[in-house]
């Protein structure tokens, strides 16, 4: 597939990283240095030009593209580029990134002439709401309209002996779930019945949302369901997170240092309780019993502040911390600092955009462990040689079927179950194997 990418920033680079092997990419940006950085790492065509210039887009060859992705950090550029690209190419799919939830609503209402609108803020908010639902998970993704959940967990001290230290065939694995991978140091095991989860392992679980919650409480018994969170930072990201969490009936308090920003958040989120204060003021934190919150979400603009505020919040007793990492580097730094989960909005956005680049049979994809693994959602073809084959007989090949969706319902297959044509398969695989897996199904 020919993919035309406008914007070579963090999101663009992540997309290129995920797609450059399978597809033919052209990247357009107005900064030569960014293009050089990309072309130095990946084999893609680059073009220096203006995304809002129809002439530049035409010169870069937008007309021959099958998929056009506008993912600069500026909404207006993405909108204009998306519109132009639309009129230049007849059949191509256009995807634009936006940081304004209003554009997403416009698009849902059919008012924007593009195929997909992806909002960093909303995707981040969804990612966080999934994490809140499964607090022990480092990362979770949902598939098949929320029927299947994939979670990445750390097995830490205090985890239940029901699943730790016993061979998987003897462990009390929650119903409707499957351990897709055990990651130990740098080595990954696609586990069989003899394998054992040990403290310090990282595991990937595929299962029903209920099973994911059970896993969460097995691995982190004192975690519990989160009913009460405090969000630091009431900007666009913080407000989007608050909106999503409030809609799930979670009590939200927000702490915002800017008076104006706090006022706006309080006006647009009547159900949230907004404070105009910094997250570093010990008197304030003490007086409002911020430490009593079950989870702290750090969504300020500045990663350093997020990290510092998260540390202070931990000192004040918040048991579970989620921080927004705007810089890719911060993910590792946050982990080092003892923050439970980090979410990089650009990575989340890129992940959401990348799924449009896959095979049309592919509904959704999730990337785990810095893109080393992918979870794919693929519909099987009639001609696949695995149709009619029992799961126990399938080859392993560094990938594993975690769930199938048949007639709109998720099944978590056992060895005797048989794959049928038209099944949607949720499959965990090494990223390098992904094209082969899609091909085979």
């Amino acid at each position: 597939m020919k993919i035309f990418l406008i914007g070579a920033g963090q999101v663009g680079t992540t997309i290129v990283e995920a797609l450059h092997e399978e597809h033919e990419l052209t990247v357009l940006d107005n900064e030569m240095t960014r293009l050089q950085a990309i072309s130095g790492r990946f084999d893609v065509a680059t073009f220096e030009g203006d995304g809002t210039s129809r002439k530049d887009l035409a010169a870069a060859g937008v007309a021959s593209a099958d998929l056009i992705i506008a993912c600069t950090s500026r909404d207006e550029v993405n909108l204009v580029a998306g519109m132009f690209a639309r009129s230049e190419t007849a059949g191509a799919t256009t995807v634009i990134r936006t940081s304004n939830v209003e554009y997403v609503e416009l698009w849902r209402g059919g008012q924007l002439d593009v195929d997909f609108v992806v909002s960093s803020e909303l995707e981040t908010a969804y990612a966080i709401s999934r994490i809140i639902g499964v607090p022990a998970a480092r990362q979770t993704d949902v598939f098949a309209d929320g029927e299947v959940q994939v979670g990445e967990f750390d097995a830490e001290e205090g985890a239940s002996p029901d699943v730790i230290g016993v061979p998987l065939r003897d462990a009390t694995i929650p119903a409707d779930s499957k351990v897709a991978a055990i990651i130990r140091d740098t080595e990954t095991v696609l586990p069989g019945g003899d394998d054992v989860i040990r403290i310090g392992d990282r595991i990937v679980v595929i299962g029903s949302p209920t099973a994911a919650k059970t896993w969460s409480s097995l691995l982190w018994p004192e975690g519990g369901a989160v009913r009460d969170v405090v969000i630091f930072g009431a900007g666009r990201v913080g407000s989007a997170i608050a909106r999503v969490l409030l809609d799930q009936g979670i009590r939200v308090r927000m702490v915002e240092a800017s008076r104006e920003q706090a006022r706006r958040a309080a006006e647009s989120l009547p159900e949230a309780r907004v404070f105009n204060a910094t997250g570093f003021d010990p008197d304030f934190l003490e007086r409002e019993r911020i430490g009593q919150s079950q989870a702290g979400i750090f969504a300020m603009r500045d990663d350093a502040k997020n990290q510092y505020a998260a540390s202070i919040a931990q000192v004040h007793g918040i048991p579970f911390t989620i921080a927004i990492a705007h810089e890719a580097m911060s993910v590792a730094a946050f982990e080092q600092a003892g923050i439970d989960v980090s979410v990089n909005p650009r990575a989340v956005t890129a992940e959401e955009i990348v799924r449009f680049a896959h095979d049309p049979r592919m509904q959704q994809v999730a990337m785990l462990e810095g893109n080393r693994y992918e979870v794919l959602d693929v519909t099987t073809r009639e001609s696949s040689r695995y149709i009619g084959m029992a799961f126990r007989d399938m080859p392993v090949h560094g990938s594993l079927i975690g769930a199938i969706v048949r007639n709109g319902h998720a099944l978590f297959p056992h060895g005797d179950d048989v794959l049928q044509a038209g099944d949607r398969v949720i499959i965990f695989t090494e990223a390098a194997n992904a094209p082969w897996v899609v091909e085979a199904l």
């Binding site: 915002e256 706090a262 006022r263 309780r273 907004v274 404070f275 204060a277 304030f284």
Partner: protein
């Protein structure tokens, strides 16, 4: 150098364009005089003297024309600043205009200048407080003039002028808003001219409906007292939440069904006209039903009526339907600041008087014809107080005040607190003057009566307690008290602030 000095000119002292303001007042006065023609057909029909009305109209229009001519050279427009002066002076002028027929006809009860001006101000401000102790003395044409002044004042003289006059030199919304009761009229956000027209359209329509209903009751033989004349006179008293009656016993003599109709239309007059326009004319009743102020308004009417019913029944004053009717009628009448009465509540026990006294400070809705503090201000003030208490515990919490889900501007919130303080201040000052004056002149007002008299004038309600009760009059008050009440009615109708700014230094001086 001398040239530039010439260009700079002499120093200017005034911060407002007085000639422009006077010019507009002149224009308004010129047209206002036409209103004096309204009672003429009544006078002719009943064979009563006509000349007093014609003279009053001629004097008013002539005076307006004179003001207009004298300031014809003024170039400036009427802006925010001039608007306050225009509104304040127009209402003083209008009260004088209303008084002219009483003076010119040398009416034995209303003929003295202070009494006539009192009655005129009471009419135009829709107060309905009267210094006439024997209403049978007032002939039918003068009586209908007295009712008609209320009806003109109800929706506002300037609002009417904007609606019907060709191109007034009115710059902004401010001029109209300083006359319309209540803090905001955002529901019909269009050009002020079309807003004014819609409000008057609905006002005229509702009045016509009420006249028709009341007259039908009379025609159907259900109420002997309800002649077509009474139907018109009482509708002119109800829709503007006025309160003047042409009968000595107010609404007491009407049959129950007439009283219920009056109560219903008083309640309607106390609701927001802009919202009613949306609800009735545009058929969007949800806009009305979902309005927080309207809901509180209805709730207050129901709760107060129930409480009064219980008290009336409990004290054995009335029972059954009569108790309910008396409670609803008096509640609605006092709360909406109308001031009609179906019973002489001045004779009720003190606890009932206190209940009515409290209702005097409620008022109608914003954008209604009612006066007093208004339901929306109580609502927002309550929310502000709740926020203050919340913020005592959590100083950092940010809590926007919301009305119907939308955040209310902080300046509006502050203005409402300021208004309520000013209102209470004006009431206390007025009550003190009246109490001292009545002690000096021996007019027989007790402390509660004096407090109620000040409240009833400031809230544009009408009756007070004691000798100034619904079946009595303010005739026995001293001139100082009457002048105080005139001032309170004026200040209350314009909602204090447009008048207060006139006495600040920075209004006049640069």
């Amino acid at each position: 150098m001398s040239q530039s000095v010439a260009r700079i000119g002499p120093p200017r002292r005034l911060a407002i364009d007085v000639p422009a303001a006077v010019n507009l007042i002149g224009t308004l006065g010129k047209f206002l005089g036409i209103a004096a023609l309204f009672p003429v057909p009544f006078a002719l029909w009943y064979g009563e003297p006509v000349w007093a009305f014609l003279a009053a109209g001629a004097i008013t229009s002539g005076f307006g024309l004179l003001l207009e001519r004298l300031t014809a050279s003024s170039r400036g427009g009427v802006g925010l600043r001039e608007g306050f002066l225009v509104v304040a002076l127009t209402w003083l002028l209008a009260a004088g205009f209303a008084a002219l027929p009483y003076v010119l006809s040398q009416n034995p009860q209303l003929g003295s200048p202070i009494d006539a001006y009192f009655e005129g101000m009471s009419g135009f401000t829709t107060t309905g407080a009267s210094v006439a102790s024997n209403l049978t003395d007032i002939n039918r044409s003068l009586g209908i003039w007295r009712q008609f002044t209320q009806w003109l004042g109800g929706m506002g003289i300037i609002v009417l002028a904007i609606a019907v006059l060709p191109r007034l030199r009115v710059g902004g919304r401010q001029l109209m808003e300083s006359e319309l009761p209540g803090p905001e009229i955002s529901q019909l956000s269009e050009r002020i001219r079309s807003t004014a027209r819609k409000l008057w359209f609905l006002y005229v329509g509702l009045t016509a409906l009420q006249v028709l209903l009341l007259a039908s009751v009379g025609w159907a033989g259900l109420d002997d007292e309800m002649t077509p004349y009474q139907a018109l006179a009482n509708s002119f008293s109800t829709m503007p939440t006025g309160g003047f009656s042409t009968l000595p016993r107010s609404a007491e003599g009407f049959s129950p069904i007439s009283q219920w109709i009056l109560a219903l239309f008083m309640a309607i007059a106390g609701a927001n006209f802009a919202l009613m326009y949306l609800g009735i004319v545009r058929r969007r009743p949800r806009a009305l039903m979902r309005d927080e102020e309207f809901r509180l308004y209805v709730a207050l009417v129901l709760v107060a009526s129930a409480a009064l019913t219980a008290m009336l029944w409990g004290h054995g004053i009335a029972e059954g339907e009569e108790a309910v009717r008396a409670a609803v009628f008096q509640t609605v009448s006092i709360m909406t600041t109308t001031g009609l009465a179906s019973a002489d509540f001045a004779l009720w026990p003190t606890v009932l008087l206190l209940a009515l006294f409290a209702l005097m400070f409620v008022g109608g809705s914003a954008g209604s014809t009612g006066g007093s503090i208004k339901v929306v201000r109580h609502l927002l003030l309550g929310k502000t107080l709740r926020r203050e208490i919340d913020q005592t515990l959590s100083p950092e919490v940010v809590l926007p005040i919301r009305l119907n889900g939308a955040p209310v501007d902080e300046r509006t919130v502050r203005a409402i607190s300021a208004f309520v303080l000013l209102y209470v201040g004006a009431w206390v000052v007025g009550a003190s003057i009246i109490a001292v004056d009545s002690a000096i002149t021996g007019s027989g007002l007790g402390t509660l009566d004096a407090l109620a008299t000040s409240a009833t004038a400031l809230g544009n309600i009408g009756p007070a307690f004691g000798p100034a009760g619904p079946m009595g009059s303010f005739a026995g008050l001293g001139d100082v008290s009457k002048l105080t009440m005139i001032g309170l009615m004026w200040v209350g109708r314009l909602e204090i602030v447009p008048v207060i700014v006139l006495v600040t230094r920075h209004y006049w001086r640069l």
